[in-house]
């Protein structure tokens, strides 16, 4: 991949049902706007500069699978026109539900070649606990439909650390998913923010009440054990653990997500989408109405931006690089920032003791460090 590689993120905020644990930019009950939203995406795309070579497109949400396949096709087509090349990886996140059955074949025709299925769990009890309006059977059915349409790169999201989910439940869940033979797995610990920070979408009052009920029932010791179990089970199943929450069969790492951890430039379009050009980051209006109104008026609906100074860039290089299980390359860091990170962050590395390991090429988190990544990273913060 050349240095001028670029990535496109397309945010689709609509959800039929907004999950109470979700911090992403989402809206429920706005089905009427789904039809007009893709035109706004096209309008924004036309306003945004397109540099380099477009390597990936990622439709994230929200629930991108709510978009009709022909609209997805138009966005993909417009991006290809804008950059003048076809990306190698086009991912679309989908919600497995019998009430919203996407036109999988149509999506393939639209250029999508990777599906990320939000199955979350294959046990109904846990799905109910998560208050997702979906059953395990619907997850299985969606997966089968995706395969039937010919998709050869499918990722499945699972959640652990669910109140009531034992270590045995989790093992069973992993085995059920492994039996489906996906190419990629993202395993997320259920993290419930009670105090909203200014950077996250504030939880709705009902969601906050739900979280307050759930949090006391969570057990971080159990969640840690579940994480360790996943590392063990997936390793045995031939998956490679390549990022803190991501596992893939060889060759199936998410190229798009890897771009974030490698700090490559990306353009984000849609409500709340973030963009990064290597030096600064900007983000769009989170509020759907504000995004739509400003975009309709012919301006980019940017909410704010930040310039990243050198210490901040260096910190992001560490924080994101350490999310990769292989860690970050000392030489690459030294090349970009002028000093060996082991020298520059000697204190933080010393404090990190059993959380970090350093060899002559790389710095990486230890097994224990992967459970305490925040503790290991704090010392590097500017």
């Amino acid at each position: 991949m050349s240095l001028s590689t670029h990535h496109l993120y397309v945010h689709v905020p609509f959800c039929r049902l907004v999950c109470a644990y979700c911090d992403f930019v989402t809206v429920g009950g706005r089905g009427a706007d789904i039809a007009s939203y893709p035109d706004l995406l096209l309008a924004e795309l036309a306003m945004r500069p397109a540099s380099g070579h477009l390597a990936t497109i990622y439709f994230g949400g929200g629930t991108p699978s709510l978009l009709p396949a022909d609209r997805v096709a138009r966005v993909v087509g417009a991006a290809i026109d804008r950059w003048g090349n076809a990306p190698t990886e086009v991912t679309l996140e989908a919600n497995p539900s019998s009430r919203e059955t996407p036109d999988w074949a149509g999506l393939r025709v639209a250029g999508v070649n990777r599906i990320s299925l939000g199955i979350q769990s294959l046990r109904d009890a846990q799905l109910q606990m998560l208050a997702r309006g979906q059953t395990a059977d619907e997850g299985l059915a969606a997966y089968a439909a995706v395969r039937a349409a010919g998709f050869e790169n499918v990722s499945i999201d699972l959640i652990y650390g669910i109140p009531g989910q034992s270590r045995a439940d989790w093992r069973e869940g992993l085995n059920l998913v492994l039996a489906l033979a996906p190419e990629h797995l993202s395993l997320y610990a259920l993290q419930l923010a009670l105090a909203p920070d200014e950077w996250a979408a504030p939880p709705r009052p009902g969601a906050l009440r739900w979280r307050k009920r759930m949090v006391p029932r969570q057990d971080d010791g159990l969640a840690a054990a579940q994480y360790e179990l996943a590392e063990e089970v997936l390793d045995a199943a031939g998956f490679e653990h390549y990022e803190l929450s991501s596992w893939a069969r060889p060759g199936f790492e998410s190229r798009h997500n890897s771009a974030y951890w490698e700090r490559r430039p990306y353009t984000g379009i849609g409500a709340g989408a973030h963009s990064f050009d290597g030096r600064s980051r900007s983000w769009n209006e989170r509020d759907l109405d504000a995004y739509m109104a400003r975009t309709k008026a012919g301006e980019r609906a940017m909410a704010d931006s930040e310039q990243l100074d050198e210490p901040t860039r260096a910190f992001e290089a560490i924080a994101l690089g350490l999310r990769r299980v292989t860690g970050l390359s000392r030489a690459a860091f030294a090349n970009e920032f002028g000093t060996d990170p082991v020298e520059r962050f000697a204190a933080a590395i010393g404090e990190g003791a059993d959380l970090l390991e350093v060899d002559h090429d790389r710095i990486r988190l230890t097994t224990r460090g992967r459970l305490f990544a925040n503790e290991a990273l704090v010392g590097f913060a500017p």
């Binding site: 945010h11 980051r281 983000w283 305490f372 990544a373």
Partner: protein, 603 residues
């Protein structure tokens, strides 16, 4: 020059908010001492803080020129007094400079605790009392009830009482006439060696220490050499004068007169309240009676919120001390709070005033530890007593033979409805009930003796909340008494935390220890290892909680839209970590210490 027989020296005393300052303002206006149009309300209270808190911190003395109904012109010296229990000694010195006092009582509140305290001080000084019922303009005023209270409680005949509304200017003429007619002129010998009572002082950056004096005997001359008898300090007078209310220089102050002496001295500690000024060349044989050095009763650690402000705090304390010699300070350090000062104050209000002045006048952000008292510790096989004002400095439990602590006599005046809750409060604070007097059928005067340590921690707030704000409090120092006291240590991961040690009565140790340990368990964030939190007396653990180890701390997701947010969270976490204090291997946020210190206030 008005002769001594047409001079009157008087004070106004009142419970807080009964209208003392407003009455003083009206007297100044009525005697044309000040133009009403130029009047900022409450001229005598010169510090902002005083105006805000409605109390007078520094006494001032103003000369009023009054043309009485008998056609003669009188010099009325109004000597203002601090209106709070912490300054009892200062009040008594101001009263010593007078022959009479106006006792102001609020027409709807009636007699309150400080009304009684001030009345007793005035009677001790053999002053003539002019009782005034103020605020009769209020809808809630009940002068009849107050007249009855004065008669029954203080044996003040109702015909002596003047009904007034300082706010509306009613009763002012009557008060001025009463000052002239009822208060005797000052007595004293003009020819004997000089004795002038220092009843207050302040520091002026140009004139040095300015002492407020009342000439008891002899005459003060400008530029003469004077001696402060208690401190032995001698100096030449830079300027002599009196206040109207602005300073008016004069050639001399003779017997009975009140005025100021600018001394050029650099430290207010050289001109202490209650000291006697005499002529250095022809000194008096003896000082005037009653001098004592004001002793601090309440102690607390004062720390800058930010460690780098320690030098600023030191300078601020030095400067403030120039103006207020009654607080003491010495450097101390605490693992939890860093470098700061252990300060001693006359009382809680004094502590609050000093702290506020430090914050307001010097722009400092401060943390104060819970107030404590000075304990006297008798050690095994040692004859001398150890005086300890900081629990952290207590000797180990094994060396202690006995501990004694200061006790006070507390007077609480309250409507009868609240007797129960107040009795309960006082007894849970180890108070001994002494007696109860009815002021009228609906109000009583409760008298307790209790340890000062119990009174300074939140007692006043509790008293107010249990009496819907109606009860008033006054207290006086009694002396030291033995107590079943123990030092309670708090340990985190086996390490004692100095800032959290406290002295408690043995019977409360378990309860206090348990609640502190429980609170700390809530406040100390989980660490990567298990942390025991214990309360101990000596080596005896009386309470224990365990903070479970954190098992993971990692962000599950970090994609394009999350990076800024998650970076900010980590930056915030780092900032928080930098404010943490390390006790052994455990990081404790400063907020935890602050919460505990505040909780101590509510024990």
């Amino acid at each position: 020059m008005i002769p001594p027989e047409r001079t009157r020296n008087f004070s106004i005393v009142a419970h807080i908010d009964h209208g003392k300052s407003t009455l003083a303002d009206r007297l100044l206006e009525a005697t044309h001492t000040i133009d009403p149009r130029q009047m900022t309300s409450q001229v005598l209270d010169s510090m902002d803080l005083e105006r805000e808190k409605g109390i007078t911190i520094k006494a001032r003395a103003v000369r009023l020129q009054y043309e009485a109904k008998d056609g003669q012109t009188y010099a009325l010296n109004l000597i203002d007094t601090p209106g709070h229990v912490d300054f009892t000694y200062e009040v008594s010195r101001s009263l010593q400079a007078c022959e009479g006092a106006i006792l102001v009582v609020d027409a709807s509140q009636g007699i309150e605790a400080q009304t009684l305290a001030n009345m007793h001080l005035a009677v001790e000084q053999h002053l003539v009392i002019i009782p005034v019922i103020n605020k009769i303009d209020l809808a809630s005023a009940d002068p009849e009830m107050v007249l009855a209270e004065l008669e029954e409680t203080l044996a003040i005949p109702r015909e002596e009482v003047i009904l007034a509304s300082a706010k509306e200017g009613r009763g002012i003429d009557e008060i001025l006439e009463a000052i002239v007619k009822r208060i005797p002129p000052p007595s004293g010998e003009a020819s004997t060696p000089l004795q002038a009572l220092v009843f207050d002082s302040h520091y002026d950056q140009y004139k040095g220490v300015v002492a407020y004096v009342r000439v008891a005997n002899g005459t003060l001359h400008d530029h003469e050499r004077i001696r402060f008898m208690a401190t032995g300090v001698e100096t030449d007078i830079l300027e002599l004068g009196y206040f109207r209310p602005q300073p008016v220089p004069t050639r001399r102050l003779t017997v009975g007169e009140v005025g100021y002496v600018a001394s050029g001295l650099k430290s207010i500690a050289d001109a202490r309240v209650g000291d006697t000024l005499t002529d250095a060349d022809r000194p008096a044989a003896e000082p005037l009676p009653g001098y004592r050095q004001a002793l601090p009763l309440v102690f607390a650690g004062i720390y800058p919120m930010r460690g780098d402000e320690y030098p600023l705090l030191r300078d601020a304390l030095e400067k403030l001390h120039l103006n207020d010699a009654s607080f003491v300070y010495e450097p101390e350090s605490s693992v939890a709070l860093g470098f700061g000062y252990r300060c001693g104050f006359l009382g809680l209000l004094h502590m609050e005033i000093v702290q506020e002045r430090l914050e307001r006048e010097f722009g400092l952000e401060l943390i104060a530890s819970a107030p404590s008292v000075e304990y006297r510790v008798k050690r095994l096989n040692r004859a001398d007593e150890l005086v300890v004002d900081n629990p952290a400095k207590f000797p180990p439990a094994g060396e202690v033979e006995a501990i004694s602590e200061p006790w006070v006599s507390a007077t609480v005046i309250t409507p009868t409805d609240y007797i129960g809750p107040i009795m309960e409060l006082a007894t849970t604070r180890r108070g001994d009930f002494i007696n109860m007097e009815y002021l009228d059928p609906k109000r009583v005067n409760l008298h307790f003796e209790m340890p000062l340590a119990e009174l300074i921690i939140d007692f006043y707030d509790q008293l107010k909340s249990r009496s819907s704000g109606y009860a008033s409090l006054d207290y006086a120092y009694l002396g030291y008494r033995l107590g079943e006291l123990v030092k309670l240590d708090i340990m985190v991961s086996g390490e004692p935390v100095d800032a959290l040690s406290l002295i408690v009565h043995r019977s409360n140790a378990f309860r206090v220890g348990k609640s502190l340990v429980e609170k700390l368990k809530e406040l100390i964030p989980r660490q990567m290892f298990e942390v025991p939190v214990q309360a101990a007396i000596g080596s005896n653990i009386i309470s224990r909680e365990t903070i479970r180890a954190m098992r993971k701390n990692v962000l599950a997701k970090c994609y394009g839209g999350d990076i800024t947010r998650k970076r900010k969270l980590l930056e915030k976490q780092k900032e928080g970590k930098q404010r943490m204090k390390r006790i052994g291997s455990v990081e404790i946020p400063q907020e935890a210490f602050l919460a505990i210190l505040r909780m101590n206030e509510g024990q």
